[in-house]
């Protein structure tokens, strides 16, 4: 178990308020004028060279957004966001649409290197077995700067590119699916995203194809006073399979920054999508200064029979997390899964969970959520499981456990369980407890320090979820969790 030891080493070597990814990159950026208006929406669309229908779609969303109010039902508190005081578009000036790595600003390449995300394929290839390769789409503020292994993926028929490129190269696919899972009218933040989204990833896996490697997108917010609004669309056609991972970091800044993403997944008949997130946006300092406001709408549509969508998330960052990756189980015999670890420390506020909407017959879902609250943080699980009349023999199993470390934090559970079908079988269980003193004493009697003991016990607590992550990210996530809990005992 080198991870725990390593973790503890790492924990020791940093201060409470230190965030490993908190550096800034000095790149000359091109910014849209501050604020939001129809002109800004047109500006973004024009920058991207989008087709006319896309501009109309965005403008519709923008007009709709003007009529909406910010949702207030979540257990999160923050000063009102001034949506006119943000930049909605920020792209590196040197070359916003580089054709090859050589055209990218070296400072940006250096940034990704520092983050441990190699963008040069030959660097990735060195010493890595082909099946362990990962293709990366790197998004820097508002634009995708590079996508690796595109050619190799294309050989298998897999399209993996930025959504801007997809709009240019594959407009018919985008037009068919965008907004079909999260409509432009969905909610305040999703509607805002629809109007102003700047970039994100697009994946299409053709029928019967098992995507030959892991796909991932790495999101980096760099510029200050800039919102990041990415949009990701993944389509798994009949009988295909894809595993996708996203990671995110941002510099440490005293002011809050907004991140409002939309992710749409579509799984057709017999297709499977596995979507993993390691969210490590800057959480703010221990007093709650700075940090990312993370308002995200993620939804998967199991549109075809026997399709499957699985969400796994490790949430350690952000000042505020507001996200509910959900599954619409439309196809008969389809399956949805949600595995979550949400760690909050300092002054972080997490309100996260999932929705499993059972529409089809014999649909199944499984929810495993592990919340860990420390410091002065508040951590809420909010979830919905529902079975509609047609969803005969639907099954759900939910387990949500919360762990409290220290007596200044809060852990809350708000599940909604709604059934309209007798043959649907729903089972839900939730527990809240603290790290057991007996376990702590036992570990310490065997020579582990308090921090080592906490790391060990917490890793045990979240094990069921960690195991769902792709192997190479499991260790990373394990470390991240321990680092996030640094300073929580004492």
């Amino acid at each position: 178990m080198p991870a725990v030891q390593e973790t503890v080493e790492q924990v020791r070597s940093i201060d409470v308020d230190q965030y490993k990814y908190g550096f800034t990159t000095d790149v000359e950026m091109e910014l849209a004028p501050k604020g939001l208006s129809e002109d800004i929406v047109r500006y973004i669309s024009a920058k991207k060279g989008e087709p006319e229908w896309m501009l109309e779609w965005r403008l519709d969303a923008y007009r709709r957004w003007l009529t909406l109010r910010e949702p207030e039902w979540a257990r999160v508190h923050y000063p009102k966001i001034d949506f006119q005081d943000l930049y909605y578009y920020a792209a590196p000036k040197s070359n916003p649409a580089p054709k090859s790595l050589d055209e990218i600003d070296p400072a940006i390449l250096e940034t990704y290197k520092k983050l441990g995300i190699p963008l040069r394929e030959q660097e990735v290839l060195a010493g890595v077995a082909p099946e362990n390769r990962i293709a990366v789409d790197a998004v820097f503020d508002s634009v995708s700067v590079a996508t690796t292994f595109k050619d190799e993926l294309a050989k298998a028929g897999v399209i993996f590119c930025s959504i801007s490129e997809a709009l240019r190269e594959h407009p018919e696919l985008v037009k068919q699916y965008i907004g079909s899972v999260v409509p432009t009218t969905d909610n305040f933040y999703a509607t805002l995203n629809s109007a102003v989204f700047s970039d994100g990833s697009f994946v299409y896996v053709p029928p019967g194809v098992r995507c030959p490697m892991e796909l991932s997108t790495y999101f980096r917010i760099n510029e200050k006073n800039t919102g990041q609004f990415e949009r990701t669309l993944i389509i798994a056609d009949k009988g295909s399979y894809v595993s996708y991972l996203e990671g995110c970091t941002a510099p440490m800044r005293d002011e809050n920054q907004l991140h409002a993403a939309v992710v749409e997944l579509v799984a057709l008949e017999d297709a499977e999508i596995k979507y993993s997130t390691v969210q490590n946006w800057y959480p703010g300092d221990s007093e709650g200064r700075g940090g990312i406001y993370n308002f995200v709408t993620k939804r998967g549509d199991c549109r075809g029979a026997r399709s499957k969508i699985s969400w796994t998330q490790v949430e350690t960052g952000s000042a505020i997390t507001w996200k509910y990756p959900s599954c619409i189980l439309r196809g008969d015999d389809s399956q949805g899964e949600f595995y979550s670890i949400a760690v909050s420390n300092g002054a972080q506020q997490v309100d996260s969970g999932t929705k499993m909407i059972h529409l089809g017959k014999n649909t199944r879902s499984r929810i495993i959520s592990k919340g860990i609250s420390a410091g002065k943080s508040q951590n809420t699980y909010r979830g919905l499981v529902s079975a509609h009349r047609r969803a005969t023999n639907a099954k759900n199993f939910t387990n949500c456990d919360s762990l409290l470390i220290g007596n200044k934090c809060g852990a809350h559970t708000v599940p909604y369980i709604e059934s309209k079908t007798a043959s649907a079988v729903f089972e839900h269980e939730a527990t809240t407890s603290k790290v057991s003193e007996d376990q702590m004493f036992y570990c310490m009697q065997r020579g582990l320090t308090q921090e080592e003991a906490i790391a060990l016990i917490v890793n045990g607590f979240v094990k069921d979820v960690l195991q769902q992550l792709p192997m190479e990210f499991m260790v990373e996530a394990q470390k991240l969790i321990a680092i996030s809990l640094e300073g929580s005992v004492g």
């Binding site: 809060g410 059934s419 007798a422 527990t431 809240t432």
Partner: protein, 448 residues
């Protein structure tokens, strides 16, 4: 700022004029007038709750209460005579019977003579005279005060009962409280009962709510309970209202130190009902058990919403609710356990289980935990589904007919919530358990 004039529904308008009429007629005491005014102002501000109000998400009272019936007045002689006959047909549970007709206490129909020592029963109107501590209690907990049904109950506060159990008294038998609605034109019945269990005392109370079938009367009752330090209260409740009735009930309980409170509700009646339980620990080392069995058929709607407030350390609460739904019935369970920052060493366990006997019913569950203290062991569970097909098959393979097999399994399912009720000193609670199980069996038999 422009004042927003809310659009009032027909029911809201009737309630507003009913209050005005009541106010014009005057209150039995100035204290009552104040309580009414407080309740009314809360109602006036927010109107009848609807589905956009989170606590009423699944019970849209504004839509379900299309009109408000006229307020019931005190029963006349012939009404009392009819009520006497009806009450006589309800088998007794335990000891002294107390009867309320249309929300008014009726000493004539009650066993005032046989009241045990240490038990004082007074009509609410009389009890508050010169007793500010009673008036203060009637204002209710913060949770109750914020609640629409309780606010309406306060607005129309007229009569009810105050039951006082003197410190150290062991009542030894159950108070059998019948709340009956008389036949005739449908009206709105409003009643309040306050039960004060003194330090170290123990008592049992069973409420039975009945009324005529075929009439859409409305009833909004509140029971306030104070369980003193070291005291025990066991509370049973049978809601067997008429099939067209609307029934709203609030239980507002404060549980003192080293005290024990156990409450069990059986719901089979009314077209629309909501049972609200606000329970709060105000002293350490106490225990509360909240439980219920709800059986619904046709298009009945029943909502159980509870708030268990662990405001002090070292307390234990258990919540167990069972729902059996047939036809196109709609069951709701909302349960929230709050553990306040000071409430270390809290133990809270909540469970809601549902069995659906047909394809048509719907069940909505919202079991919540809100925890601000770390040294706690809290949990909730929720299950929903049909009767276990394996068990059904097993029973049928042993020659038991389908209907009987269902009845057996349903009884076993419900029994769990009833079985250990009344483990305290109150032996006669056995009668209540038996009566409830009999009701459950009758209900199952009536299905066939």
């Amino acid at each position: 700022m422009n004042a927003v004039t809310p659009i009032r529904t027909a029911a809201e308008q009737s309630l507003i004029s009913a209050y005005a009429a009541l106010r014009a007629a005057g209150a039995p005491a100035p204290a009552v007038e104040d309580l009414r005014a407080q309740g009314y102002s809360r109602f006036e501000a927010s109107g009848l709750p609807h589905r956009r109000v989170e606590e009423w998400k699944y019970t849209d009272l504004r839509a379900m209460m299309r009109e408000a019936k006229p307020l019931a007045g005190a029963p006349d002689a012939s009404t009392l005579l009819a009520a006497k006959v009806a009450v006589g047909n309800i088998p007794r549970i335990g000891g002294s019977r107390l009867v309320m007709v249309d929300g008014f206490y009726s000493p004539e129909l009650s066993d005032t003579g046989t009241m045990p020592d240490g038990v004082k029963v007074t009509s609410l109107a009389n009890a508050i005279v010169g007793r500010p501590e009673i008036v203060a209690r009637l204002a209710g907990s913060a949770a109750a005060q914020a609640n629409a049904a309780f606010a309406l109950n306060a607005a129309f506060l007229t009569d009810g009962l105050v039951i006082e159990i003197a410190p150290g008294t062991d009542v030894g038998h159950v108070l059998d409280l019948i709340s009956i609605t008389s036949a005739g034109e449908a009206r709105l019945i409003n009643a309040r009962v306050l039960v004060l269990v003194g330090e170290g005392a123990s008592a049992g109370i069973v409420e039975t709510h009945v009324g005529p079938a075929g009439t859409d009367y409305q009833k909004n009752v509140a029971l306030q309970v104070v369980v003193g330090n070291g005291a025990t209260l066991e509370h049973g409740r049978r809601q067997i209202e008429g099939d067209q009735a609307l029934h709203l009930a609030t239980l507002d309980a404060d549980v003192g130190a080293g005290a024990h409170f156990d409450t069990l509700t059986l719901t089979t009646g009314a077209a629309v009902s909501r049972s609200q339980l606000f329970t709060r620990f105000v002293g350490e080392n106490s225990k509360a058990t909240l439980r219920g069995v709800t059986m619904l058929r046709g298009r009945q709607h029943a909502d159980t919403s509870l708030l268990m407030d662990h405001a002090v350390p070292h307390c234990e609460s258990k919540e167990l609710f069972k729902h059996i739904l047939d036809n196109e019935a709609h069951g709701v369970f909302q349960g929230k356990i709050i553990v306040q920052p000071v409430a270390q060493k809290t133990d809270g366990r909540m469970m809601s289980q549902t069995i659906m006997l047909a394809e048509g019913p719907a069940m909505d569950n919202k079991p919540e935990l809100e925890i601000f203290a770390d040294d706690v062991a809290c949990g909730h569970g929720c299950t929903c589904g049909e009767l276990d097909p394996d068990l059904m098959f097993y029973l049928k393979a042993r020659g038991i007919p389908h209907g009987e097999a269902e009845a057996l399994l349903v009884e076993a399912f419900a029994r769990e919530a009833i079985e250990d009720f009344g483990e305290g000193p109150l032996g006669v609670v056995e009668e209540l358990r038996e009566a409830m199980l009999a009701t459950i069996l009758d209900w199952m038999r009536a299905r066939a």
